[in-house]
Structures are given as structure tokens and as C-alpha cells.
Amino acid sequence: MKHSIEKLKGFGIGLVMAGIGMISSGGTGAAQGLCAGSCQACYACGVTAIPLLLWMALKARRRGSRLSLVNVEPRERVAAESLTQIS
């Protein structure tokens, strides 16, 4: 159940990222986003999207550095999980 929720959450993150792309993809003219399309580099969409991306990056950075396998040796982690299962 928890695994399915995690997957659903991931799917939602992907959709949100596509949404961010949709908001700010007017920049090339070819893409024709929500703005006029032929970008005159007003940066309005960037002003919307860049802080959101930076926030996501910082959140990921904090989460990653705290929990990543760089800090927790996989062998130890698996061993600990195995012990928990046995007990």
C-alpha cells in the first residue's frame, strides 16, 4: 500500500513538472505556450518557474544529503533491515 502511494506521489510530481513546463514553454516560439509564443524574453514565465525549481532543488538536496546512501552504507542498511525482519 505504502509502495503504491509512493508511486502515485512520484507520478504526481511528474505531472506537476509537466505543468510547470506548460506554464513556461512559450519561450521558443515553436512551442507556443500560454504566452504569445514568439518569445521576446520578458522572463515572466521564468520568474514564475525558476523559484519553484530552486525550491524543489533545495528540498531534494536536503532530503538527499540527509538520507542518501552516501551517508548510509547499503550493506549496513540491508543488514539492519534483515535483523528487523527476523526479530
Binding site: 512520484g10 507520478f11 506537476v16 514553454s25 519561450g27 521558443t28 522572463y43 518557474a49 532543488a57 538527499g64
Partner: protein, 298 residues
């Protein structure tokens, strides 16, 4: 073991350079060759002759997916006009048989993986083992097909084309700073700046493995991996195979995988076919040779 890993690194670097020469400007040998073979006078190949031979113009690997979904009426005509647009479908077909080898060996997007080796690990975002990239990738793919195309008339792939930026950087190395990759309008648009931040910074060189873009956003890669996940179930296809009897639980493969496709499991490992890109770094990293990329049952 260290020597074999170094050899693997050089081998992949050579293939990556070959991919850059074959697919991206200023060389783009594939598009140029097909453009010459199919003269514009006959109708076929005129699109290649008229547009610049670049990976995001003459041989785009993303827009044909959108056309196939939303513009079937003109889709066949486009393919006949420029057969290179069928390349992405060929790659998806090949992925069923041998896995997404294009992603791991030839894709110009691999530039970020190779550049990320120069960044110390402590500066990188490492979500390996903590976030499964596959659902995020398929969520973005769903948004790419189902949401963006009807809402914004086209798709978000041109606004967020990482290959364009890579072509910019690559072309600059050969002093091609003119309109070869779309000109200055693209270069200074905010979406291209976001793309640069995403491709090179956030999901590129500062992401563990350097394959954040491939892991989370690439629609062509997602479809190739979807094909691979189905193909891997067949006994005659090539795929990453694991021999549990040989495994020494060192988990070198987990850290070697640039796409976070291998996760430790109890007395074993789990291989995620939805993110494996067939690079075989794990095969070279495995000291007892428990991993192999061969044909056979799982």
C-alpha cells in the same frame, strides 16, 4: 577491477563522442547523409534539405511522438517527407530486443553524465534509493502527451529540449556560434534558461549519476524503457541479468549505476527495468561477475 572500470569509462566516452558526431550539429552525419541520399527534388527528404541538420530539427526524437498521438492526419506525410522522424520508433523497437542502448551509449544527453564526474559527490543531490524515478518519469510522460498537447496546442518538448542546449555547447566548441541551434532568440528565452538550469545544473552535473534529466523527464527514454520492461520478460532478448550465487553483497553495482536502477535487497539486488539504460557500468563494477548483459531468461 579498477582497470576494467577505467576501460569501460573510456569505451563509453568514445561511443558518446561518436553519438555527438552522428546526431548533433555541426557534424550531424546521420541527418546530412540521409539528406544527401534523399534529394529534395523527389519530395522525400526535402524537410532535411530545408532545415538545419541538427538533432532538434531534421531528426527530432520527440515531436514525432506528439504527432503520432495528436496529428495522425499529417503524420504519415511527415515521415515520408523526412524518414529520420521514424528513428524514435525504431529505437523503441530496438529497445524491446536489446534494451535502451541508445540512451546508455549514444545519446548526446549523456554529456551531463560525463561532465558530472568532475563534480565532487558532496555537492550533488543524491536521491538514489530514496526516490524511484520511474513513476516521476511516467507522470511527466503522461503530462507530455495528454496534458500539454491539448492545452498549449503543441507540446512542451521544444520549450524544454535538452538536446538543443547540448548542441549549443558542443557547437561552440567548434566555433559555431551562429544560428545553427536556433539563433539568439532561443538562447536568451526564459524557457531555454530554465532548460539550461534543469539540464546542466539541477538534473545534470549536480545530480548523482548525472542522469537526472533522463531519469525524470525524457519522454523518448521513458518509452524506450517501457519497451525494454516488456522485452526483458522474453527469453531471447538482451537484458541485465543477475546471478545471486556469485553475488558477494558488496553493492558496488548500486553506486555504479548512473540511473539508480539497481537497489540493494536482502541477500540480493533488485533491477528496475524502467530506468536501466543498458550502459553496463554495473557489469564492470561487479567484482565477482554476478551481473551480465546477455540473452536468456531473467
Amino acid at each position: 577491477m579498477k582497470a576494467s572500470r577505467t576501460m569501460q569509462l573510456y569505451k563509453r566516452l568514445l561511443f558518446f563522442l561518436l553519438g555527438m558526431i552522428l546526431f548533433t550539429a555541426p557534424f550531424a552525419l546521420v541527418a546530412t547523409a540521409v539528406g544527401h541520399l534523399l534529394p529534395a527534388a523527389s519530395g522525400a527528404g526535402s524537410a532535411i534539405a530545408q532545415s538545419e541538420p541538427t538533432i532538434h530539427r531534421a531528426m527530432c526524437l520527440r515531436m514525432p511522438l506528439v504527432w503520432a498521438t495528436w496529428e495522425q492526419a499529417t503524420f504519415v506525410g511527415r515521415i515520408l517527407d523526412n524518414p529520420l522522424y521514424a528513428l524514435v520508433f525504431l529505437l523503441i523497437g530496438i529497445s524491446v530486443l536489446i534494451g535502451p542502448m541508445f540512451c546508455g551509449w549514444l545519446c548526446p544527453g549523456g554529456m551531463t553524465e560525463h561532465l558530472s564526474r568532475l563534480v565532487p559527490a558532496r555537492f550533488k543531490i543524491n536521491l538514489r534509493g530514496r526516490l524511484d524515478p520511474a513513476p516521476v518519469r511516467y507522470g511527466f510522460l503522461f503530462g507530455f502527451f495528454a496534458v500539454s498537447a491539448p492545452f498549449i496546442n503543441k507540446s512542451i518538448c521544444c520549450g524544454y529540449c535538452n538536446w538543443t542546449w547540448i548542441e549549443h555547447v558542443w557547437s561552440a566548441l567548434f566555433f559555431r556560434l551562429d544560428g545553427v541551434t536556433g539563433g539568439r532568440v532561443f538562447a536568451y528565452s526564459s524557457s531555454s534558461i530554465i532548460t539550461f538550469l534543469l539540464t546542466f545544473v539541477l538534473l545534470g552535473i549536480f545530480m548523482a549519476g548525472g542522469r537526472g534529466w533522463c531519469n525524470f523527464l525524457c519522454p523518448a527514454g521513458a518509452l524506450q524503457n517501457l519497451a525494454h520492461s516488456i522485452g526483458a520478460k522474453l527469453p531471447f532478448t538482451y537484458k541485465l541479468r543477475f546471478d545471486g550465487m556469485k553475488c558477494s553483497d558488496c553493492y558496488e553495482c548500486v553506486n555504479a549505476c548512473p540511473t539508480w536502477a539497481i537497489a540493494p535487497a536482502r541477500n540480493s539486488i533488485s533491477i528496475n527495468r524502467h530506468t536501466c539504460n543498458g550502459c553496463q557500468d554495473c557489469v564492470q563494477a561487479c567484482p565477482p561477475g554476478a551481473l551480465m548483459y546477455t540473452r536468456g531468461p531473467l
